[in-house]
Every structure is written in C-alpha cells, then in structure tokens.
Amino acid sequence: MSVFNQSRKSVIQLVFGGIFVVIILQLANLQVFSSKYKVMADDQGKFRKVVYPDRGIVYDRKKKAILQNQTIYDLMVVPNKVRGVDTASLCRILGIDTAVFNKRIVELIIKNGRARPSTFDALLSDEKMAMLNEGMYKFVPGFYLQERPVRSYPIDAGGNILGYLSEVDTNFLKAHKGEGYQIGDYAGKTGLERTYEKVLMGQRGIEYWKRDNKNRLTERFENGQYDTAAIAGDNMHLSLDIALQEFGETLMQNKVGAVVAIDPRTGGVLAMISSPTFKPKYLTGADRKKHYAELLLNPALPLLNRTVNAKYAPGSTFKTLQGLIGLHEGVITPSTPFSCSGAFYGCGKPMRCLDPGVWSLKGAITHSCNTYFANVMQRVINNPKYPNLDSSLNQWARYMHAFGLGHRLGIDVPTERSGSIPNAATYDKIYGDGHWNFCTFRSVSIGQGEVETTPLQVANEMAYLANKGWFITPHMVDSIEGGDKFGLMDKFKEKHQPLEISDSVFEAVHDGMQGVMDGGTGRFAQVPGIVVCGKTGTVENAYGGVKQKDHAFFAAFAPRDNPQIAIAVICENAGFGSTSAAPIASLMIEKYLRDSIAGPERKAKVEQIANLNLIPPRIYKELRRMDSIRHVKDSIYQASKGYIKIVKDSMGLDADDEADAMDKVKNRKDAKKETPVKDSTPVKPKTKIEAVLPDNKVKPEATDTTKIPEV
C-alpha cells in the first residue's frame, strides 16, 4: 500500500523546503541586507552616558581655594515604587502638603514615566538633606538621594572675575562643534570659568550602558570595554589675592566704579573689583534664574565688569604718559619750564588751570598742571621733525598703543574692551580731512576728549611706569597644575618693552608722582611708612547731555624703589579724585603690602570709606521708577524673562557678553550716549563715545519679547 502515492513525499518535502527558503530569505533581508534594525536596536537598547569629570579647582595666590566643587543632593523618585512610603513625614520634611506631593508625582509620571527615576526635589538645602538622610529608611525604595556636583565659592568675592557655569545654548554648540558638548551640558559662561573652560573642564568620559524597555539603565555594555574614563580638570593658581579682593569689595560698596591692582613685576592681577558687584554664588544653584533677572534689571549694572568692560576718559592720570612722550620725543627735558597763569592760552580760547605758577615736569605732575601738558602735547604734535600733523599725531598714538592703551591688553578675563586713542583718521572722520589741528583736540592732552581707557589699562600704565619701561600683559592665572597644555598663558610670559626710555626720565616722572602724594593732589592717598607714587584724576563727564558730577580717578604704584603693586581706582560721579578714589587706593596698597591695616585711625578710615555712599542719585531714581513700574505691570518676572531671552538671543557666548547684550538692549531704547564735555570745547556732534551706563533703564515689557531687533 505504501507504494501508492509515494511520489507525494517529494511534493511535501518540496513545499516544506520552499517555505523554509522563503523564511531564510526574509531572515537574510532583516539581518544581512538591512541596517536600519541595528540602528533602531542601538537607539533603544544602548545608552551613551557622558561622565563628567570634576572641574578644576581655582586657588588664589595664597593657595586658598576660591572656586571649588561641592556635592549637593537631589531627591530622586521612582514613581512605581512609591507605594508604602511614609509620605506624611516626607512631606513634613520638604514642607509641602500631600496634594502638592501627589501633583508632583503625577507630573513626573507624565514627564518621565513610572519606572524611571525623576528628580523630585533638586538641590536640597543642608537642613533638609540632614533630615532626609536620617529618615531615609522610611522612604526607600521609592526615594533616594543622588549626588550632584556644583561649583561653590568658599569666599564671597570676585563674582565678576570667577564667572559661573550655565547650560550651553545652540550658539555655543555651533561654535564648539566636535568638542563633545551636548545639549544640557554646562560650560563656563563668564569670567575665568569661560576663559579657562578647556583647562577646568577636564576630559569627559563615556560609559556605554544597556537600557531596558522601561528606559532604565541596567548594566554596563560589554562590561565597560568601550568606555573611556573621565579625567578631572586641572587646578589653577591665580595671582589674585582674595583677601585683598574682599577688602576692596568692602571699600567699594555703595559706590559705582572699579579697582584694578597689578603686581608690576609679573603682570599678575592682585585684585579686580567692579562695583556694584554680586555674590558669585547668586549665579549658581537653584535660584540662579531669579538672581540673574534681578541683576540684569538693576540700573547700576552689577553684571558689567567695569574693570575691563567700561571705558572712562583717563583724566589727569594720562598726564604721566604725555610727559614720557614729550621727554622721549625730545621736545622737553625734565627741567623745561612752562608757566601757567591760570589758563592755557595757546589756542585762543583759554583752557583753565588750577595751579598758576612756573612748573617743570615734576611740579607739573605734582600739581596736575593742565597748561604744562597742553604745551607738551602741542610741541609733540607740532614737532617740525614730522612732515605734517597726521604723521606726528599718529606717532603720538603709536606711543600710546605701546603703553598698552587703545587696544585690548589680552587679559584672561573675558569681555575686555580696547578703549580708544585718537589718531589722524579719527579726526579726519570727525572734522573732515585736514580740518583740524592741535587746538581741536587739546583736551586730549589732559586725558579728556577722545581718549578712553579701561581701569585695567590705567593700572597697567602704572605697572609700566613702576617698572621703568616695561610691562607684562596683565593676567589672572599664574600657573596651571599639570602645565599649560593649550598655550593659553604664552602671552603672559612676554615682557613688553616698547620704547627705549632712560631711567632718568622715569625718575623724573616718579618724582612728580611722589610729589603728588607728598604735597600735591594725592595727600589723601598717603600710606604711613610707604613711598607711594600716584596720580589723581578728575574726569568730567555728562550723562544724557547733562553734566554730571566728576568721576574720581586715582592711579598709583608702591613702594617707589621696589614696586610691588600698581593700582587704578575709579569712583563714578564721586567728585574730586582725591577724596574717594585716593584713600581707597591707599588702603588697598597698605592692605597688600602690610597684610593688614595698622592703627585705629586707618581702621576708622576703612570704616568711613566703606560706609561712604557715592551711588549717583539717578540710579536711585531709576530704582524708584522700576518700583512704580512693578506696580503697574503686574508681573516683573515676565518682563525679566523676556529680557533674559533678548540677552540670550543676542549674546552668543563667543560674541561678547552680557554687557554687550545689555548695550544692545539699551541701544534699542535709543539711549542717549554719555558724551564727554570739556570746559572749553563745544560738544562735538559726531563724536560718539559709548556710554558707560545706560541712561534709561530698559523698560520691562512683558509682551515685547517678540520684537527683538536684529542686533
């Protein structure tokens, strides 16, 4: 019987075999020819976890940590394990009620799912943390504490220098392609955190994890075979003296201005105070956004680093350099006398002078004689050695550039401005080709007019004088542990000695500056037992077309025969240079050289200066106006959010910084520029000197965020 239909065996086998072949073909299609499934599998089954190394620690010159890492804790929750947890006591510790608790859990489930850990409460305060830690057994396994490293500032000073971290934005990512940054990473936003980002960041590690269907990380992929370890960032040592910085911030409180102190021997910055300033820890941690908005809207602009990002006419401090140029050009000798009968008459209309008499260089510096320096510059400009005014003025400008003015010095604190030194082109542009002569810009000779310097440049100028002819580019960072791998500090090793000027010339200038302290305009800056060379400056300025109280300037170095500190102090709208700026410089010098302030009299002085309130009244006016706006517009928070957006949009980390962004915001509000007015020169219509302060506090407009101008 079995013979019957035996051929059907082959048919059956054929059918079986055929179907198997079809299946194998489909397998080949899936496994061999199609790559999309591998990609999909990697996407869902593998997780590339970036391991962040510890950021480098920053120390001051006395090895005191001023920027370090701190671990704080987040309370994490896994919603599907919450059942059975002692919710009541958890709520008590966190200070919330059960309804809020439930709401938050529901929100987290919507956001992250039930099985994945989410942050229930971020950045726990110390006391909450302590209480939670104690009762943690009641909350497991639904809740646990997770470490989170943040930057901490052990000493509440130097907010403008150290900078802070913030989440990278798209512009930053665009600019730093291929450096391994991802959305959600933090990078240095301002200050040293930004300049030395590469050094401090260290090298990120990557861990590959397996991920399960609930998006939980389960275990290392291939036991970590493909992982790369994270390498901690390098520590940095600053030349900054944090005690001096703190002291300076105390002295500068309730004032608007800046102090820069440099060690002339190394170019290392000892203190760099911009006032008003902010506590550095304001811009780290949970309340960052709130504080940022407040700071941004403050009319005194605490976020502006005035030491490098504000430009002031240097005033009389400029005269020392004028003297140097005159001597170097050979148009005067230290003993060349000029007489001043109360004004400079060289240009028809007299330029007032406070100290009538006959002065040589020393006396002219000591008494800050305008006439003398007007004459000196006139000789320089009209020097028959040069074929025309263009070339002589340009030569003069080259000298000034060589002294570190008119260009960025290249300090490692971001947002430095160049300042400006006028040259022939400047005046050609303002007055038309050749339609100018020395008399047109004679006020430049005494440091007013088109000359603009940053406080840093003035301090550097003092260092140059102190060193008798050379300076090293000012810098914050002294050394990097493990070496300077990125060549960031190369330019800080170079000694700039632009001109061959004999020591005797400097001695003459030093004599004059010492005279300032002994009996001239700088008597208030005397430091008992230390020979200080200094120069006061009183800078006339106007705000919104209205002449304001003068800026007080004081620049000095000390001690004379072995200079260890060069300092520039500016107090905006503080009046005569000798009453506010000079004592601050004097106390700073004493603090640095002696490590403390000696004697009850000097201590009282500290107290007196610290309590002195020199904030211009218009800032209070602004604040009051803002308060009233706050009443009108119900939500200032909305407004600040809008402005943060404007600032962020226009800021791009590599363009300039907050200050620039603020300028942009300001421009939009057609801010009236601050124009320097001088005693005898009419306000020049075409000269535009960028404002140091915005006249109009930007008006918070909650609904205006869409109308951001193309900046």
Partner: protein, 450 residues
C-alpha cells in the same frame, strides 16, 4: 543508556533522539539568555524553580522520564487506545468550558496546580493517533468521500472547539492534518480548493463585501468574454463559471457576513479580523457608538501591542546581523524589549545572539528533523505508523513555519509556540510525546500495526 537498556534502545532511531535533545538544549539556552542578568547566580537560579529556564529545565527532566516511559510501552497500545484517547482529549477540551482558566484571553487551560494544561495542545497527539487509526483501518477506502469526510471530522473537531474557546492560534495547527491526508491519497483538488477557499476567506476579510461582489462579477464576465468560443461550444464550462461565481458571491455576500454577525460573538469576530490586521467591518456600528470609548481604546491598544511586538521582534532579529551579538550579549533581549520573548518570540533571542548564521542553522536543524521524520514515515510497513509520522512532521512544520513567519513579520501575530524551544511545559511535553511515540513506533517498523 543504549548499552544498558538494550531492550529499550533496540530499533530506536538515535538521530531523532539527538535532534530532539539538541533542540531542547538550544531552547534552554535561549530561555536562559532571555532571563539571565549578570547579577544572577546561575546554579542557584537553575535549581531554584523560580526562573523560567529553571522550570523549563525541570520540564525537560520530566520529559526524559516520560520519553523513557513511552519507549517502554508496547506499540500496539497506541493503536488500541487511539480512539479512546481521542475521546478523552475531546472530553478534556469540553471540560475547559466548565472548569477552564482564562490565560491571555483564551479560556482553554485546565489548572493542575503545578502547571496549566492546555487540552487542545495535547489533543494534537490524540488526533494524530485517531487519524492514523482511521486511515489504517482495512475497511477505510480513502478514495471515497465518506471516508474523507470522517477523516476531516476527526481532524477538525478539536479545532472547532478550540476556536469556540478563543484559542485560534492552536486551532489553525489542525490544518496541518491535511498533509498526511494528502499523502494518503486525498485528491489535490481538495487542497487546491481548500487553499482557494482560504484565500477567498482572507480577501473577504480584507476587502469590503461590495467591492468583492463587483470584482467577482467583472472577473466572471471578462472570463466568459475572452473564452466565448469555448463557452459556446461547451455549456458545462459556462455552468462551471457561473457556479463558481455564484458560490464566491454567496460566500462573500451572505455566508461570511452572516457567520460574523450571528454565529461568532463580536470579540471572536474581532479576533479573527485582527489576525489579518483589519478592523471588524461587521461589528454593529450602533453598538460601537454606544459602547464606551474605553472598549475602543482597549481594542486599539491590543492592535498597537501586536504591532509593537512584531516591530520589536524584527528589531531584535535584524540587529543580530550576520554573526550575531554573542551569547548573553543581546541588548534587546537583555533589555526586555521583546514581549513574550521566552514563549512565542523565543526565536528573536536566537536571531539577536547568533545572527543570520545561527538562525539559518536552527532552521536547518528543524528542516532536518522534519525530513528525518518523513524518511522514517516512508520506511514504515504499517499505514498507522506512516500516517502518524506524517502527522508529526506536518504539526512540527506548521508550528515552526508559522511561528518564525510571525517573528520575522511574514504573518500576522498568531500565538503558537516554537516546538521544543519555547518556554512552556504544555508545549514541550506535547512535542516530546508526539516525537517519542513516533520513535517507539519506528522501533517496531517491521511490525504491521492495526
């Protein structure tokens, strides 16, 4: 073993035994790879009876005992008790209507305490035996329609009962009995008609009734038009075309809607439609509108779940590539991405861990065991053994083909296991019995059994 118990080992086809053992071992490894996490201690969990691989291991041990026992039985017992066991099987299936436990939507399980028994699964054995018994009876003349009808009744009764329980996947397996019947002389016309009917059924599910009626009419008219000369010459051809057309139209236009509206319960109809991946068009529209949206959502969720299963299954298999990721290194397997991976989707772990070469090797293993069974079948002297062997081959083939087609996305999701690999005592025991009865029968291949 074969030396000591030569009386058991005598005549046993060791190739089959080895193929069986290898497949079960592969299955154990696969289940292990699905469940194992690097933190587990292997030996403890293997003996702990807590993990699935541990359970499967004990099932395997039990199966070895069972297999030995089967090899000790006299072959004549199988022929003698074939009808009785078939009856028992039917009774057991009927029993599930009373004391059945619902697992995964089908009330086809009898809880035994230590495991759940699925009578439909076991009934495959009994049906195979009964079919073999019937076809091997001397008074059966398989060329007669009556015998063919009886054989079909024997084969499909459990399937019908199974569908009534909501277990459609297993019911489909009973179609595989057509293969032994074909081998025994069932005219291929039946199979072709059957296949045509199946196609008709599927398209009647896929397309709307109206479309199909028009399509059939068009096809019939065109056929007559193009063959008008032949049609003129023979009336019988015309009659045939008309009959086929009429049948198809009635089938699609009346039979299918009637069955789905009045014979099946809505959920059964839904299930059948979901098998071909369309929504049930015969569902009472008003009922849907009135029924709460929860139910619709539930239904949607189920389709989504099935799509998700297939997608994940394809990702797991596809990501294995040519060489695979290596044993215990599959990220998809370890991450629990494939649902039901230890049972119906066990093939994905082979695909992911061992890649194309591993999957192909497994396919070849299955093909060898099936072809081996066919070889055994053809060397039997008794019809009983031969039919039985073909039953086993067909069942195995059907399971393997459908299961793997589902995992690679060639077939809609039908819940049937991969023989010997999938986790599950019921399935493993069934196939062990099926195969070892065959081995036992083959050992007595010189005997003529009736």
């Amino acid at each position: 073993m074969n030396q000591r118990n030569s009386s058991i080992g005598k005549g046993v086809d060791w190739v089959m035994v080895w193929l069986y053992a290898i497949l079960v071992m592969v299955g154990l490894l696969c289940i292990f790879s699905v469940e194992y996490r690097s933190t587990d201690s292997v030996i403890n969990s293997f003996l702990g009876f807590k993990k699935n691989y541990s359970k499967q291991f004990f099932f395997f041990v039990f199966c070895i005992v069972l297999a030995t026992f089967i090899l000790l039985i006299d072959s004549k017992l199988f022929t003698a008790t074939a009808n009785f066991s078939y009856l028992t099987g039917i009774v057991l299936i009927l029993l599930t209507f009373v004391i059945g436990k619902e697992i995964k939507g089908s009330k086809s399980w009898i809880p035994l305490g230590f495991m759940n028994l699925q009578p439909v699964e076991l009934c495959k054995i009994f049906t195979s035996l009964a079919l073999s018994k019937f076809l091997s009876m001397p008074e059966t003349n398989f060329t007669k329609p009556k015998s063919q009808l009886i054989a079909a009744a024997i084969s499909f009764l459990p399937a019908v009962l199974s569908i009534a329980q909501g277990e459609t996947g297993l019911a489909l397996v009973y179609f595989s009995f057509l293969i032994p019947m074909y081998r025994e002389g069932l005219p291929p016309g039946y199979l072709i008609t059957g296949a045509a009917m199946a196609v008709l059924l599927v398209i009647s599910l896929l397309f709307s009734t109206k479309t199909l009626l028009i399509a059939f009419l068009v096809v019939a008219v065109l056929f007559i038009f193009f063959n008008r000369r032949q049609v003129k010459r023979s009336n019988s051809l015309l009659a045939m075309v008309v009959i086929i057309w009429a049948f198809c139209s009635v089938f699609v236009g009346v039979l299918v809607p009637f069955t789905f509206k009045h014979v099946f319960k809505p959920y059964q109809a839904d299930r059948i439609f979901s098998m071909v991946g369309v929504d049930n068009p015969f569902a009472d529209k008003n009922a849907i509108d009135l029924s709460n949206p929860e139910e619709l959502k539930e239904k949607k969720k189920k389709t989504d779940q099935q799509n998700y299963n297939v997608k994940q299954s394809k990702i797991a298999i596809g990501s294995g590539g040519v060489l695979g990721k290596g044993f215990l290194k599959g990220t998809q397997t370890q991450g629990d991405f494939v649902p039901e991976q230890h049972t119906d989707f066990i093939f994905t772990s082979v695909g992911e861990n061992f890649g194309f070469w591993g999957s192909t090797l497994l396919m070849l293993l299955y093909l060898s065991i099936i072809f081996r069974i066919i070889t055994l079948a053809e060397r039997q002297r008794s019809t009983f053994s031969r039919v039985y062997a073909y039953c086993v081959a067909a069942i195995l083939f059907f399971h393997v083909a459908v299961n793997i087609c589902v995992t690679v996305g060639l077939a809609p999701v039908i819940g049937i296991t991969l023989p010997l690999l999938s986790y599950g005592g019921s399935s493993l025991i069934t196939f062990t019995i099926l195969i070892f009865i065959l081995i036992r029968l083959d050992a007595d291949r010189q005997m003529v059994l009736r």
